[in-house]
């Protein structure tokens, strides 16, 4: 997938987890926790959604690499999604 | 509590044959090597000395021929027990069994019946390779006009034969080749003949119904035992009768447990397990909390090497995995 497709995928997972955010702009640099008051349950649901959408395993140790939109796209790209 | 004694499966068959011959002079045994050799699986050892050549008859190497002759004897008023060495060789007698034994009552408008009992060894597990390891019980269970039973325990091996001989229509009795050395309990006194109709609950449980027959019963009970250590309580049903199937016992169990796993040594496609699965779906659909699982032989000719033969046929690990699947664990 190219960057645009990956960004779209991550956003879809994000809006799945927090439907009330749909339509809002997502700043790609700022971590989700700060932008959207994500707590650990939101984040876990996001990780589960990302795992289901991309098919890759995401170990807990990798969570810090998935803090924001750009981070997620880079992570997925590095794993050939 | 009736007193019991311990017998091997083989001894139970032999005793059943002796008892039948003693109780009814019309009964006789015929088949390859049943007389002087004492039977390919030693089930008739010593019988020719006791009952003579006329009643323990060695036949030529021609399944079609001697099965036909047995059917003829039955038509003529005898009560023959035809021993086809294994189900693998019964393929040569299929025309006799399906087109004569199974259909004469129908085709004669009820004027003729064929009270023949055909015994066959069946199944894999003794490294006899592709042509000699079939489990084709489902082919016979498919045919109206035949009654098909599969004694999996010593008590059933002892008790089913006499009842089968009372049936005015053909009965096919399948003895799994790996069971002959097994030991089990038989009543010491009283009538040991048992019914041919009902499935037996060999292990009561509440989480999943394991449905099986013949040589797979032991593996299924083993799997159930091991699963109980994981907190899974399995109910194990021994079908005993393959045609007709005891729907009532099966559905009663599945309605209770909501999950079913069928263990059948035949190949999955067109298997008896498929038939039972369809019936469960028809009669107990709304009770199901998971799709019905089938544990069957891998769809390859049965291999010769021991490790491959074991991997290709149902085993406890495979049964346990199927159970876990129904539990979504």
């Amino acid at each position: 997938m190219n960057d645009l497709e990956l960004t779209d995928m991550v956003k879809r997972v994000l809006f799945d987890v927090a439907p009330d955010l749909e339509g809002e702009t997502v700043d790609p640099d700022i971590p989700f926790r700060e932008q959207f008051e994500f707590d650990s349950m939101d984040f876990l649901n996001f990780i589960i959604g990302l795992h289901q959408a991309s098919g890759i395993q995401i170990p807990e140790a990798d969570y810090p690499q998935l803090a924001g939109l750009d981070d997620c796209v880079a992570y997925l790209k590095a794993r050939n999604v | 509590m009736t007193a019991t004694r311990t017998l091997t499966y083989r001894e139970a068959i032999r005793e059943a044959l002796r008892e039948a011959m003693q109780r009814d002079e019309r009964v006789f045994l015929m088949g390859e090597d049943v007389g002087r050799y004492g039977g390919a699986y030693a089930c008739s050892k010593g019988l020719i000395e006791e009952f003579g050549e006329a009643r323990i008859r060695d036949t030529p190497l021609s399944e079609s021929g001697f099965t036909g002759a047995g059917i003829g004897a039955a038509l003529g008023g005898m009560r023959p027990i035809v021993e086809i060495m294994t189900v693998n060789f019964s393929l040569l007698a299929l025309d006799q069994i399906v087109n004569t034994a199974a259909t004469l009552r129908h085709m004669s408008g009820g004027q003729f019946s064929v009270p023949v009992v055909i015994r066959m060894a069946t199944g894999a597990g003794r490294q006899l390779a592709a042509q000699h390891s079939h489990s084709l019980e489902c082919w016979f269970a498919h045919v109206p006009g035949l009654r098909v039973v599969a004694p999996a325990t010593v008590a059933d091996a002892r008790g089913m034969l006499w009842t089968a001989l009372q049936d005015p229509d053909p009965v096919i009795m399948f003895e799994h080749a790996t069971l002959y050395n097994d030991e089990g309990e038989v009543a010491s006194e009283g009538e040991v003949a048992c019914d041919l109709d009902k499935a037996a609950i060999r292990r009561a449980g509440k989480d999943v119904s394991l449905i099986t027959y013949s040589g797979s019963l032991k593996k299924t009970l083993d799997a159930a035992q091991r699963l109980s250590a994981e907190g899974v309580d399995c109910e194990v049903i021994d079908l005993r009768s393959l045609r007709p199937l005891d729907d009532a016992t099966i559905m009663s169990s599945v309605n209770k447990t909501t999950r079913a796993v069928i263990v059948d040594e035949g190949w999955r496609s067109g298997s008896l397990a498929g038939e039972i699965s369809a019936r469960i779906q028809e009669q107990a659909f709304y009770s199901l909390d998971a799709p019905v699982e089938r544990v069957c032989s891998v769809e390859v000719p049965i291999p010769y090497p021991s490790h491959l033969e074991m991997a290709a046929t149902p085993h406890a690990e495979g049964i346990m995995a199927a159970v876990r699947k129904t539990l979504r664990k």
């Binding site: 799945d16 927090a18 349950m41 289901q52 | 979504r328």
Partner: protein, 373 residues
Amino acid sequence: MPSLGADMDEGTLVEWLKQPGDRIHKGDILAVVETQKGAIEIEVFSDGVLRDCLANPGDRVPVGEVIAMLDSGKASAAPTGNAALAPVADARASLEPLVPGRKVTPAARRLARESGMDISRIVPDGTGVVGLQQVRTHAETTAPPAGPTGRTDLKEMRKAIAAAMARSKREIPHYYVSSDIDVTALMDWLAKENAARSVADRLLYAVPLFGILARTLLETPELNGHYEAGEFSPSQSVHAGIAIAMRGGGLIAPAIRNVAGKSLDELRLSLTDLVGRVRSGRLRSSELSGASVTFSNLGENTADTLMPIIYPPQVAIIGCGQIATRPWVKDGEVQIRQIMSITVAGDHRVSDGRSAARFLSRLEKHLATPEVS
């Protein structure tokens, strides 16, 4: 029925502008409602298909009561404009709602129907299937639906909670006891446990923490129950109100029933379900009563301690601060450990500091052995 004014208690439904089966878009007007301030149009805020209209023209409906059900299926592949397929679509609409991609076993569907439960609200298990176990768990964690009544909108709930908090501080003599507890063993155990689980089954630390809190509470009954009309009634089980933040502000604490008796996975699913429904405003007002105690977990990257306020008629509330990495003395030397500050607020009419201290001391022991707690 939305609150269309600060003092609005109820509205009268005048007419429906959409019918069940109609496709609805964000911004559509659904119905017209008569209030003291005149006729007002009710707008919808999501896309979907209108499934049920639950009020009739002329009905006086209290604020907060559900008046319509909308199916907002995601990625719905419903064929539109194909006349040949229309009869099939109609037949499907008369069955229970089919959520695309969701598997429900026949046994589960039957039990849910017999119990009057809405299958679409039941959380599936880790494999995506709604089975008997999920239906039973759902029955335990939610009160049976009372139909359209019994559900309140969040704004009204928050007003009620604000009033309760004020009353609590006025009437309940709070005492506070806290302890800094080494939760390294719990976090190590959790990392190992999660490594063995599939992504979808992972546990947040709150799950085992709440389980251990509940089981420890059973040993200190004076912290678990209700105080009403001058009398304390201890509760046999621990029905824990879980303080959950609502996005946009406000805190709400619906209950998970029998926390001490639930397995880790049952607790995980209950918690996920509850948080999900708080966020989407689908709580039942019955879930806001019935708690015998409340757990307030601040979570990560927040603060070290809190002094929570007891929700009457409960007699205690347990506040958990963030887990901080700190130098700690263990086995006679200074080590880096993960520390959580836990505060028990108790009702001094029912218990005193010693009860709380006993609880915290036992809790410390249980948290040190998470695999058996």
